[in-house]
Amino acid sequence: MRQSAAGPARRTTAEDERGCDWREALDNAQPVKARGLVKRYKEVLAVDHVDLNVRAGDVYGFLGPNGAGKTTTLRMALGLIMPSEGSVELFGRDPLRAGARALEGVAGFVEAPRFYPYLSASKNLQLLAALDGGDARARIDEVLDVVELGARAQHKVGGYSHGMRQRLGIAAALLRRPRLLILDEPATGLDPAGMRDMRELIRRLAGEGITVLLSSHQLPEVQDLCDRVAIVDRGRVVYEGALADLRRQGGAGYRLRTTDDERALGVAREQPGIDHVSLGENGLVLDGQERDIGQLSLALGRAGIGILALTPELATLEDLFFRLTEGSNAANGADGTTPRGSLEAGVV
């Protein structure tokens, strides 16, 4: 009796220690840290010295045109393909060295999620749960409900639409209770309602504290969801950092409506630190730092001009994306040198 009581106690302690180590590793280590990642396919340089820094809690957008090297980078991150140079760590573990252990706490899919078409969704998830271990099998119904596939759980995946497979891909990822979710173009091929639902789901996941690495070429999706981004073009990262910083660097404009726009135009042009002042149908458009904008508002008050509205107008991600990628293409095309973004600060 004593012996049987001691056995489980010992196991529990060992498991607790392992669990503590694991939690500690996941709590302290950076979810994704890539350094100098390179992937060559003979003469083709698919990924060119990519550095990524995904921090805990990020919804990190990995942005780039088709063929920019996003999927190849994600495949290297998940240990599916070997880098030609450089390294990548997930929570401090290199998938090439640690194997499946490096994927603890990590889930997701690259390109379209793939399943066994001759098995039902439920059977597919049972298989994946068996390969995950832990409590995954007990969570199949829950995750199918989360992606609203519960009613079709017994249907063969071969008959699923593209959108249903994407959602099943998310369900398969959620089985692992991930701390880091890697999603490669999750909304591609979805109808507008499906895209909206997918965004909502990603928002919910982020709200639960899951770090999300989201690869996409859909700029509104990234602008809507992500707080940090890396923009990759022709295999190189041309920007990495906070999305808000990028938009500020792209030119923080303001729109100003006053009681007398004609006179306000003159005042603004005289004001130090205020640039690119123009008068349009909806008032003035101008650039300037916050401090200078404050001084302008005081000057307008002194001139007896009332301010009706003063609103910041940040550059859209789309503007910045094209500025970065087209700028690099132009540079690349002009002299064959390494592509670089045209923004000053934050350009990698």
Binding site: R18, V110, R114, G133, G134
Partner: protein
């Protein structure tokens, strides 16, 4: 309410999960095989051939049987001659083909469909997946051989009775002992067949193309058989895989001739082990870019 049910389905895990064993991965490889229609194509052939043989022989029961082999001569005297004769017919081409159908497909099919990346992003190592797939291919080959033997035995006994048979040495063996020897002989035949399946797994891993791997495996068997028939190549015969396909006949001699069986065992290992080792290395280092 369980802790699982009470936790948010989206919340990240707070504990390390217990990783699955290779046995678990193997079980799921078998479940995948069972769920695929093409799995039954090879097994269907293996079942139909003995049945066709028995029906055909029953129809022409009064005709002579030529006496090409000792078991052919006994075909209507004991139903236990049927599985031995069937094994003789099937060893060189049909059973290697059936083994190759799954072994050549087991990795390449997953690679082509993109499901390899799905399973390799779970909590299993590549080595576990490769081991499970190899074991599944072997299991399928063993199932085909034993199913063939079982169907031939049942059909033969149903047609011509459960009677003693004469062994290859001419001695009479009781029916129960003959039955035991028949299944032991089939088990011995699995040794070279596992080597064939191992070559199939290697080609499946290396070519990433199911058709190429299946054809390549069968082609390899045919090539070795052709080599064994080339005049002047007699010296190479003991070292050819196809020559081991008849090692099981040592069990049907009195006394048992173990020499060809032992020779077959180590020679087949010389084919299977390097094939699996190279296949393992390829699988371990390969880029999974399909799908």
């Amino acid at each position: 309410m369980s802790s699982v049910a009470s936790a948010s389905p989206l919340a990240p895990a707070t504990d390390a999960r217990r990783r699955p064993s290779t046995l678990t991965v193997y079980r799921w490889e078998l479940r995948k095989l069972i769920s695929q229609k093409r799995t039954y194509l090879g097994l269907g052939l293996i079942v139909i051939l003995p049945l066709f043989f028995v029906i055909f022989q029953s129809v022409r029961q009064n005709h002579g049987h030529g006496g090409e082999s000792i078991f052919a001569a006994q075909i209507t005297q004991s139903g236990l001659a049927t599985p031995v004769l069937m094994l003789t017919f099937l060893v060189l081409f049909m059973l290697p083909l059936v083994a190759a159908l799954v072994a050549g497909d087991v990795v390449a099919n997953e690679d082509g469909n993109g499901t390899l990346k799905t399973i390799l992003t779970r909590s299993v190592d590549r080595g576990q997946v490769f081991a499970a797939k190899t074991l599944a291919a072997w299991t399928y080959a063993a199932t085909a051989v034993l199913l063939s033997a079982a169907v031939a035995t049942v059909a033969g006994v149903a047609s011509w009775g459960f009677h003693p048979v004469r062994s290859l040495s001419g001695t009479v063996v009781s029916a129960p002992e003959a039955l035991l020897l028949i299944f032991a002989a089939n088990a011995i035949y699995l040794i070279p067949l596992f080597a064939v399946a191992s070559i199939g797994v290697l080609l499946s891993t290396a070519t990433r193309n199911s058709a190429a791997a299946v054809v390549g495996t069968v082609g390899c068997v045919i090539l070795l058989d052709i080599i064994s028939g080339i005049p002047g190549m007699e010296g190479a015969q003991p070292y050819l895989l196809t020559q081991q396909f008849e090692a099981w006949q040592g069990l049907l001699r009195t006394p048992t001739d173990w020499a060809p069986i032992v020779h077959s065992a180590w020679l087949c290992a010389l084919y299977a082990v390097p094939a699996l080792f190279v296949g393992y290395l390829v699988f371990l280092r390969r880029d999974v870019a399909g799908g």
